[in-house]
Assembly symmetry: C2
Homo-oligomer: 257 residues x 2
């Protein structure tokens, strides 16, 4: 019964490092843009309430508006129609122990640099496992593409026919859900699905199949290049929004020297 | 170098329990009300973007508006004028390793039930330490009052002369900052200060002295009655809002069987 004490000592002494995987959230945070016939999500905005002035002599504070899916954010199963009727499918109902879980990092940054529409396939996952071992059940699978290092235009990478950003294939998602029983899928891009995933079968396979199986998504992650392929632990606790479909959040990773 | 691995096993097997200290965030979440001459913070509100309908055929999501200090929230040093010029005083700049720290729980629920204006004094802290040992440097001090078990009216407890809720005395805050070197102060009530703390010297001693010393606040916590007096670890990672004075967040506590 010393595991928690040893953990606390590790954090305090720095032998366990805390790595922030979160984008800074501001008026400049890029947002998802959907086809014009659909509702669009809000960018981050704020209204200062006071700043040590007549509106509040000793305090500074603001109100802010944001979408549940702006910036580094968590997707709950209810976000997608396939997860609509699952139990505990909203951010306020996700079991607390799911908010802390091991992570594996699949580095396909070279492939994504060569092809912005790169699809992670079953063969890529199998090649990764041949080197690093089988993906453990209950893990976050973090898909490293180095997309977070791009400037805003290259990050959203929008063209006339929509966004061109990497994501998983339908078969890869099926493998991760059904054969590997992962907790969820985390990406550096704005969506867990590829920018052109509306053309896949089913459309948006990551959203459809992960959320239909009660699994989670994490988007707009940074610093995946600072994590080992295996051995990190991810803390991803969304806001406890009643009936919330997702939420911006702070995502931390723990790594031991 | 097994501390993180043992921790991950403890979480996965349940020998380390994850306890959610967070209020559900909704349109019904109570907010701080200041004297009418000051700016007031926004309650939580939301606007549905789509719900599996013509606005978004397969997805449900919302925008929301909230203040940085609504619901269970984190106060950064810049929130108060005394912390205005400190380095790294905003929620986006707080060092990542401060977001995970040990906690002690000071149970004064009986005293707070008897007197809604109960002030935590130096003598109370010394009596607690005589039983449980000295408060370790770098800890969160969580002030249990069972306030979170009250219904909304008794929770805000507003009368003509303002709110009547418990908090720390100036001397108690000075002890915690200067003699104990704590990380911050967490409470079940809406403010780290007592409801009548504008009458103390200095006014709002918790905000003034903790933030002036670069320490943090946590408000609107729940489930403090589920924590041991010593031995818990608190994860309190605010949103990474650029220049943010605070933020709603998910607060988790870890406890080992
Ligand atoms: N791809 C989408 C389509 C519709 C709504 C949201 C998304 C997301 O990526 C999201 O979850 O941020
Ligand atoms: N007491 C206050 C006075 C002014 C502004 C905010 C507060 C808070 O309690 C807070 O930080 O939520």
């Amino acid at each position: 019964a010393q595991a928690l004490k040893n953990f606390a000592v590790g954090i305090a002494t720095g032998s366990i490092q805390v790595i922030d995987l979160t984008q800074t959230l501001s008026e400049d945070t890029p947002v998802l843009v959907l086809p014009p016939e659909f509702g669009q999500c809000a960018a981050f905005s704020r209204k200062e309430i006071s700043r040590y002035d007549e509106r509040g002599v000793a305090w500074y504070w603001s109100d802010f508006t944001v979408s549940e899916h702006t910036g580094t954010h968590f997707d709950a199963p209810v976000h997608w129609i396939s997860g609509k009727d699952l139990p505990d499918n909203t951010v306020d109902m996700v079991p607390a122990q799911d908010l802390i879980a091991p992570a594996v990092v699949l580095d396909f940054s070279k492939e994504a640099a060569a092809d912005p529409d790169f699809l992670l396939e079953v063969a890529h996952i199998e090649a990764w496992e041949a080197e690093h071992g089988r993906i453990p059940a209950g893990s976050w699978v973090l898909f490293r593409t180095d997309w977070s290092k791009r400037d805003v235009d290259a990050y959203t990478n929008r063209r006339d026919d929509g966004a061109h950003t990497p994501g998983p294939s339908t078969a890869a998602v099926n493998l991760l859900v059904n054969e590997r029983d992962v907790l969820g899928f985390g990406v550096e891009t704005i969506g867990t699905d590829a920018g052109q995933a509306h053309l896949l079968t089913p459309p948006y396979p990551a959203h459809t199949l992960f959320h239909g199986a009660g699994r989670y998504g994490l988007q707009c992650l940074e610093n995946l290049d600072k994590l080992p392929a295996t051995g990190a632990v991810v803390i991803a606790p969304p806001l406890k929004i009643k009936d919330g479909s997702g939420s911006p959040l702070r995502v931390l990773a723990l790594v031991e020297g």
